[in-house]
Amino acid sequence: MISVHLILFLAFGAVCVAGAVNLLVQRHPINSALSLIAVMAALAGEYLLLGAEFVAALQVIVYAGAIMVLFVFVIMLLNAGVEERTQGSRVAILFGIPGMLIGSVLVAWVVLRHSGTGEVAIGALPGPPKTIGDMLFHEFLLPFEITSILILVAIMGAVVLASKPPSSPAEAPRQKVKD
């Protein structure tokens, strides 16, 4: 029996897989970034089907919004062009793609064969975002606070790494001559 749930799942899943394959096929990083955004948007749809509204909103805001904007920004900042194929990448294509195909088919076969008949109803997750907030601030309070420290460290690390290194004293006279 084909339900609306299954049709929606298959539609979003098809967009996901098409975007992921397109990410691999495209040679220009900006095209890969745009197909990754499509994958993330379709995954947000899958989360909504499962009833995880909070995660779906986070997926759109944090992943498709913040992180991918960062990626596109860096691609444009560094003026990244079409990638060239090298000897190493040819070997990787020769062995990597068949290996991954065999691996994923094997995993799919095992999962489909042995996972029983467990089914997921539409909107199966209990609890609104309020419940998640309660859990986050009671049971998971320590990890939550640790992630805030992690974010702080990441901000400082990004600033330190991306800032221009100060010109060394040996270089300074040369620059003066150039001026």
């Binding site: 799942f9 691999l24 499962l50 860096v74 997921v120 997750l125 990441a154």
Partner: protein, 100 residues
């Protein structure tokens, strides 16, 4: 009703695409995007299991994965900018020396 295994297969396909991209891509930014794709595949199986077993903690784990991914993206892209500044290339085959 969609079987749980369909969600797991979709997440496995996404993860496999991420691994393949990590292996065959030569642009450091695209390799980084493949890692994000792998994280997304894992997140989907987290949420699917959470829905299947009616356990809310799965969504909390997805939240933490997203936080770590955001931190990783910020630091990783800063490293990419630093690499580009010293090597003037984004090709990982040409970034093979620890010291310039």
């Amino acid at each position: 009703m969609v079987p749980l295994s369909y969600y797991l297969v979709l997440s496995g396909i996404l993860f496999a695409c991420g691994v393949t991209g990590f292996l065959i891509k030569r642009n450091i930014i695209t390799i980084f995007m493949s890692i994000e794709l792998m994280l997304n595949g894992v997140n989907l199986s987290f949420v699917a299991f959470a829905a299947h077993w009616h356990v809310l903690a799965g969504q909390i784990f997805v939240f933490f994965v997203m936080v770590v991914a955001a931190a990783e993206a910020a630091v990783g892209l800063a490293i990419i900018i630093a690499v580009y500044r010293t090597r003037e290339t984004l090709n990982v085959d040409q970034v093979n020396l620890l010291k310039l």
